[in-house]
C-alpha cells in the first residue's frame, strides 16, 4: 500500500518536473526560433510571413557598414582571446600552485570580480580609466576592455581543469629529469589543454557578444557587430535584423558547444 502511494507520488513529481523542464526550454528558445523562422521570410515587415526567401541574407552581404563592424568584431575577438587566454591560464596556474599561500582567497575573489560585477559598472570603470591614462578610444581600447573581462572567465575554466589534475604528475616529471619549463610544456600544458581551449572559446564567444562594455569604450569607426546591430534596432527594425541575429546565434552556439565538447572530451 505505502509503496504504491510512494511510487505514484514520485511519478507525479517526475511529470511536473519534466513539464517544467520543457516550459523552461520553450521560454528560452521559442523567441530565438521565431527570429530564425522570420529571417527566412520574404516580407518587408518584421513579423509577417512572406514566403521563404534569402533576400535579407543577400542584403546583409552587401551592407558595407555591417561588414566593417563584423571585421572589427573578429579582430577584437581574436586579439582579446589570445591575450586573455595566456594571462588567464597563467593566473589559474599561479593560484593553483600556491595552495599554502594565505592571501590566495583574496586573490581568488579579486580575479573573479569581473564575472560578478554588472557590465555597466565595468564599462564605466574602464571608460574612466582609459580617459585618465589618455588612451584614445578605438579598437585598442575595446580590445583592452575585452581582455579585462575575459581573463577571469579563462582563469575559472582552467582552474576547474587544474583541480582535477593529480599534482604528482608534475612531481613525476621533475623526478624524471624534466626542467620546470619542460614539465610545463610536456606534462602540465597537454593535461590542462582542454580547459585552456574551452576557456579560449568561451572568451571568443563573450567578446563577440558583448554590447554594453564595448558601446562605452568604442571610438568612431571601431563599432563591433553587436553594438552596430543594437544601433540599427533603435532606428528601425527591419527583417535584416532577423538575419543578423540568426547568424550571430548560430555562431555563438557553435562556439559554446565546441567549448563544452572540448572540455568534456578532456575529462574522459
Amino acid at each position: 500500500m505505502t509503496s504504491r502511494h510512494a511510487a505514484s507520488g514520485r511519478t507525479r513529481t517526475d511529470r511536473w518536473l519534466s513539464l517544467n523542464g520543457w516550459f523552461v526550454f520553450a521560454f528560452l528558445y521559442l523567441p530565438i526560433l521565431v527570429v530564425i523562422v522570420f529571417s527566412f521570410s520574404g516580407a518587408a515587415n518584421v513579423g509577417t510571413w512572406g514566403g521563404f526567401s534569402l533576400r535579407w541574407y543577400r542584403r546583409l552581404a552587401g551592407n558595407e557598414q555591417l561588414l566593417a563592424s563584423l571585421e572589427n568584431s573578429l579582430w577584437v575577438a581574436l586579439y582579446s582571446t589570445i591575450v586573455a587566454t595566456v594571462f588567464g591560464t597563467a593566473a589559474a596556474l599561479a593560484l593553483d600552485r600556491y595552495r599554502r599561500w594565505a592571501s590566495r582567497g583574496t586573490f581568488d575573489a579579486i580575479l573573479y570580480l569581473p564575472v560578478i560585477i554588472p557590465d555597466v559598472t565595468m564599462a564605466v570603470m574602464l571608460l574612466l580609466w582609459f580617459t585618465q591614462i589618455g588612451l584614445p578610444l578605438g579598437r585598442a581600447s575595446i580590445i583592452l576592455a575585452h581582455i579585462a573581462f575575459n581573463i577571469s572567465f579563462v582563469a575559472i575554466v582552467v582552474r576547474a581543469r587544474l583541480a582535477h589534475m593529480d599534482s604528482s604528475m608534475e612531481e613525476a616529471a621533475a623526478d624524471l629529469y624534466a626542467t620546470r619549463w619542460q614539465t610545463f610544456r610536456r606534462v602540465t600544458l597537454p593535461l590542462i589543454m582542454p580547459g585552456v581551449l574551452g576557456g579560449a572559446l568561451l572568451a571568443l564567444t563573450l567578446s563577440l557578444d558583448d554590447v554594453v562594455i564595448t558601446s562605452f569604450v568604442q571610438g568612431p569607426g571601431s563599432t563591433t557587430l553587436p553594438v552596430h546591430v543594437f544601433g540599427l534596432i533603435r532606428r528601425s527594425v527591419t527583417p535584416e535584423i532577423n538575419a543578423v541575429s540568426t547568424l550571430m546565434v548560430t555562431a555563438s552556439m557553435i562556439l559554446v558547444f565546441s567549448s563544452l565538447a572540448i572540455q568534456r572530451r578532456g575529462e574522459n
Binding site: 629529469y177 624534466a178 593535461l191
Partner: protein
C-alpha cells in the same frame, strides 16, 4: 668513512611543516649500496616525507642528505640521480606506455636509438611486451604499476624510491608483485628504498627495515631481527602479532609475572626492573597436562577464553588469571588437539621465545 660509501646517508634530518608540525624528527640513517631497505610505519609517521626529501620533492628543515657521499642540499629533483615510483603511479595519461617509459631518457637528451633500445629492455624486464602503444587508461592496475616501475628503472638511477607502490593492488597481485620486485631488485642491483605501512610486505622483501613512529626512527635492523628482537614496545606491537604480559626481572634470564609465576626469558635489565614480557602467538604450544610438555620448558597454567578460526590456523586467547592473557596460534593440522572455550590448558614456550622489554 661510511658516510661517503653509503648509497643514502641521512644525517640529523628534521622536517617541519609550519610552526608546530614536526613530520620528521632528527633522523640518522645510512642505506648501503645494493640494499633493499624499507621504511615501515603507520600513516603519518614521516616515512613518506623522508622519501620525498631523498627525492628532492621536499627539502629538510635541518640536516643533510647525501647520495653516495654527495650532498644533495637544495638540489631540485631533476638534478638528482634518483627516480621514484609514486603511490598513485603518476603515469602521464596523454602518453602511451613507450613514451611514458622513455620520458626520463628524452629529458636527459639520450640519443633516439638508445632510448628505444633501453625502453624495449625495460618493457621486457617488467613483462609488458606488446603493450607499447597502450595508454595508461587502457591498462589494469598491475600493468600500470609495472609501467611506473619501468619508467623509473630505465634511467638506471643510483637509488630507486618506491612510495607504497603496491597499495592499490588486490592481495593476490600484491603478493606476486612483492616477489617480482625483490627479483628485479636483485637482478638490477640498484638500491631500493621502499616505503610501506604493511609490515608483512616489509618483512617479505627487505634486507633491512627502519621502523618509524611519530617522525622518529625507532628501530633499524635486518628483517629477521626486527621481528625476533623488537627493541621497544612500539615495534613489538606494530610488527607481527604479539602478546604482552606485565612483570619484573627477578635475576638475569628470569622474570616474575603479575600473578607470581616465574618464567625464564631473555632479559637485559637489572633485577627489580618493571618489564613487559612479549610473546609471539606462533611460538607457544598448548597441552592438556603438564606431563606432556617437553622437559626444560617454561610452563604456565591457564584456560581458553576465546577461539578464532582462520582457516590455516586457529587462535586461542588464554587467560592466566592475575598475570593477564595472551594469544596462542596453532596450525590447523590433524595432529593438533582442538580446544574449546573454558578448557584448562598448559602453555609451554622456549625461554628464547620470550623477551622482557623495559618500559
Amino acid at each position: 668513512m661510511t658516510a661517503s660509501t653509503a648509497a643514502v646517508g641521512i644525517h640529523g634530518v628534521t622536517k617541519r611543516f609550519g610552526e608546530d608540525v614536526v613530520a620528521v624528527d632528527d633522523i640518522d640513517l645510512e642505506i648501503q649500496d645494493g640494499e633493499f631497505f624499507s621504511l615501515l610505519g603507520p600513516s603519518g609517521c614521516g616515512k613518506t616525507t623522508t622519501l620525498r626529501m631523498i627525492a628532492g620533492l621536499e627539502y629538510p628543515t635541518a640536516g643533510s642528505i647525501r647520495i653516495f657521499g654527495e650532498e644533495m642540499g637544495l638540489r631540485p629533483p631533476n638534478k638528482r640521480p634518483i627516480n621514484t615510483v609514486f603511490q598513485s603511479y603518476a603515469l602521464f595519461p596523454h602518453m602511451n606506455v613507450e613514451d611514458n617509459i622513455g620520458f626520463g631518457l628524452r629529458m636527459q637528451k639520450v640519443e633516439k636509438a638508445e632510448v628505444s633500445s633501453r625502453v624495449g629492455e625495460a618493457i621486457d624486464l617488467v613483462r609488458l611486451t606488446g603493450l607499447n602503444s597502450r595508454r595508461p587508461g587502457e591498462l589494469s592496475g598491475g600493468q600500470q604499476q609495472r609501467v611506473a616501475l619501468a619508467r623509473a628503472l630505465v634511467n638506471r638511477p643510483k637509488v630507486l624510491l618506491l612510495d607504497e607502490p603496491l597499495g592499490a593492488l588486490d592481495l593476490k597481485l600484491r603478493q606476486t608483485m612483492q616477489l617480482e620486485l625483490k627479483d628485479i631488485q636483485s637482478n638490477v642491483g640498484i638500491t631500493f628504498v621502499y616505503v610501506t605501512h604493511d609490515q608483512e610486505e616489509a618483512l617479505t622483501m627487505s634486507d633491512r627495515i627502519g621502523v618509524m613512529n611519530h617522525g622518529q626512527l625507532v628501530q633499524v635492523g635486518r628483517s629477521e631481527d626486527i621481528y625476533e628482537f623488537p627493541s621497544n614496545m612500539f615495534v613489538a606491537g606494530f610488527v607481527g602479532e604479539m602478546s604482552f604480559l606485565p612483570g619484573e626481572v627477578v635475576e638475569t634470564g628470569s622474570v616474575r609475572l603479575a600473578g607470581g609465576e616465574v618464567v625464564r626469558a631473555r632479559t637485559d635489565s637489572s633485577p627489580g626492573t618493571s618489564i613487559t614480557l612479549i610473546l609471539r602467538p606462533e611460538k607457544l604450544h598448548l597441552y592438556g597436562e603438564v606431563s606432556e610438555v617437553p622437559p626444560g620448558r617454561n610452563v604456565l597454567n591457564g584456560s581458553v577464553s576465546r577461539r578464532t578460526f582462520y582457516g590455516n590456523s586457529l587462535s586461542y586467547e588464554v587467560e592466566l588469571g592475575a598475570s593477564g592473557s595472551f594469544d596462542v596460534q596453532v596450525e590447523n593440522v590433524p595432529s593438533q588437539t582442538r580446544w574449546d572455550v573454558g578448557d584448562k590448558v598448559v602453555i609451554d614456550f622456549h625461554h628464547e621465545a620470550a623477551s622482557a622489554l623495559a618500559e
